[in-house]
């Protein structure tokens, strides 16, 4: 099982796309070695725009490129890509529905050293709030590569949430990525956990732990956080007694909100593993933060136990 860095997969895929389609362009806000847009810059300098430390201009500039038929990818840390340029994404890109992909790297707590200013924990919520915006959070290399291609082919705006850490491939080799499709990654009939991005790996680990306790946990990967059909999410809960969500994001406006809205009136217990309404902080390791904010596989397993007890 290959372990891949998701930013590197993103960067390599963008270069491959650039070779296939001369309309693909990339814009970077002085973080090219982190976002890995530096690979595209080296391959296609004419189609790479170094926009310096000016994310607002970068977003609107990308809208202009899209208006001439270009397929634009704008790159920065997730906090700045979505937060600093929010109004530009909303109005320059979102209202006209342009083909611009906002790529936010170092998402969640993955930039562990830099602290709360650099840890995007509300990016999914603010991007999901934009009408017509597609929000994708890949969990591994194959899903990232497929998501980049899907974003380029999608006519409207996309937010691509990129986690900085390395992750093992878990996507089934026969799995075709389609925007908007959650799917069962591991079968189970007692409870279901809906997970996205890094949390998919922790959910799989939790499922393994719970097997030893006689609990069969279904793991559903939700790579598209918008759009996702309520009916699809409800169908994926068929037969289970309890539901858990797991996201490396604030509890407000992310996957937990998506699932709870979809299941409103369902009656079965739902537990949400997420960052509470608090800021991130610096830590010596990523693991320290995952533990502190109660996002571990153990936390997911415990949430499943609690939900099943309520069932």
């Amino acid at each position: 099982m290959a372990v891949q860095n998701l930013s590197e997969v993103y960067g390599r895929t963008l270069v491959a796309l650039g070779a296939e389609n001369p309309n693909v362009v990339a814009l970077e806000a002085d973080l090219g070695k982190s976002t890995m847009s530096c690979l595209f810059e080296a391959a296609y300098p004419q189609r790479h725009f170094e926009m310096s430390i000016a994310e607002q201009n970068m977003a609107s500039f990308a809208a202009g490129l899209a208006l001439t038929g270009k397929i634009a990818f704008i790159n920065s840390f997730a906090v700045f890509a979505t937060g600093r340029a929010y109004d530009q994404i909303r109005t320059s890109i979102g209202i006209p529905g342009l083909n611009v992909t906002v790529v936010g790297t170092c998402a969640g707590l993955s930039d562990f050293g830099d602290g709360s200013t650099h840890q995007a924990i509300e990016d999914v919520a603010i991007m999901r709030a934009i009408p017509g915006m597609t929000v994708i959070e890949p969990c591994d290399g194959p899903e990232m590569a497929a998501a980049v291609r899907a974003a380029a082919a999608h006519p409207g705006p996309v937010y691509l949430r990129v986690h900085r850490a390395d992750w093992p491939d878990v996507t089934p080799s026969d799995r075709a990525f389609v925007i908007g499709q959650p799917y069962v990654l591991r079968q189970g009939s007692d409870a279901v956990v809906f997970a996205a991005g890094a949390m998919v790996h922790r959910a799989l680990e939790a499922a393994e732990t719970l097997t030893g306790e006689g609990i069969a946990l279904r793991v559903v990967n939700v790579p598209t956080l918008k759009p996702v059909k309520d009916a699809d999410l409800r169908a994926l809960t068929e037969g289970v007694r309890a539901i858990v969500t797991a996201e490396e994001h604030t509890i407000n406006g992310g996957l937990g909100s998506v699932v709870c809205l979809a299941l409103r009136g369902d009656g079965r217990p739902v537990e949400c593993v997420a960052i509470q309404d608090v800021w991130g902080q610096s830590a010596a390791s990523y693991g320290d933060l995952v533990g502190h904010y109660r996002l571990t596989a153990g936390d997911i397993a415990e949430a499943v136990r609690i939900a099943l007890r309520k069932a």
Binding site: F49, M51, N57, S60, A66, Q88
Partner: protein, 270 residues
């Protein structure tokens, strides 16, 4: 030349009549900033720009973006006069389902290039279009009208640096320097003067003109073809051509009485 100038001055009067008609009486509308830009917009749409009203998406057209999107009424007036959409649409401005929104919407209105209205965006979008056109080897020019109140937006200066960095010589910014923002004189707020010096310091070619002198406008637009990025600092009067609205902050987004409405139309009669 004299005939061209007279033609353009006639068109500018026609646009101002349309602006007054779009607002009507007893209703709010951005009269001041639409009229300050009317001569500039006229010179672009009826003189300088290569456009085709029957083919708004013509790839080789010149582009015009209204970064000060609240001045939409003057752009709608020009597009209607050129036949981009039926003139009757002008009576439906800002009504439910209209193609003519309070601020320009490219998905709804033929001839609109970009969605503007949140100030500061348009210059950046124009830069991106200029860069995209250059990648495609097209000779089209990109014109973008910015307000002087809008100069307070930091994004304007991000875009100014980008245009210089990417040597966008197909980009022309026109600064509608009408000296008033929504709540009053710019000099009493964040005084964005001196405009010409600021733009020059950012590496732009600067041409300063009287933004209501059609001869100067035409000359500046032609001069802007000689390299860039170029900014034309156009000194204008907010509400120009509507006596009661000239230099009157109340008509940034004001309401005309029936008497004022009729007075404005009479003064602008063909």
């Amino acid at each position: 030349m004299d005939a061209t100038i007279a033609f353009l001055e006639g068109k500018a009067r026609a646009l101002r009549r349309k602006i007054v008609r779009e607002i009507g009486w007893g209703k709010k509308g951005h009269l001041g900033g639409s009229c300050s830009a009317a001569d500039l917009v006229t010179a672009l749409y009826f003189g300088k720009m290569r456009i085709d009203p029957r083919n708004p998406g013509w790839p080789d057209r010149d582009r015009f973006l209204l970064s000060k999107g609240h001045g939409a009424l003057v752009q709608y007036a020009a597009l209607a006069e050129l036949g981009f959409f039926p003139e009757a649409e002008l009576d439906r401005v800002k009504t439910l389902g209209s193609i003519l929104q309070g601020h320009p919407d490219r998905k709804l209105c033929p001839g609109i290039e970009a969605n503007t209205g949140s100030l500061g965006h348009g210059l950046s979008i124009a830069c991106g279009i200029a860069a995209g056109l250059r990648l495609d080897g097209r000779k089209s020019k990109v014109y973008v009208l910015v307000g002087d109140g809008e100069q307070s937006e930091g994004q304007i200066w991000e875009a100014a640096m980008a245009a210089k960095a990417f040597k966008l010589d197909n980009l022309v910014a026109i600064l509608d320097r009408n000296r008033l923002q929504a709540m009053g004189p710019i000099v009493e707020r964040f005084d964005s003067n001196p405009h010409a010096d600021k733009w020059a310091a950012f590496g732009w070619r600067v041409i300063e003109i009287d933004g209501h002198d059609m001869r100067q406008i035409v000359g500046a637009l032609d001069a802007a073809d000689q390299g860039g990025p170029t900014v034309i600092v156009a000194n204008t009067v907010k509400g120009k051509g509507i006596a009661f609205a000239e230099n009157n902050p109340a008509f940034h987004n004001g309401v005309m009485t029936k008497e004022q409405y009729e007075q404005a139309l009479a003064a602008l009669a063909a």
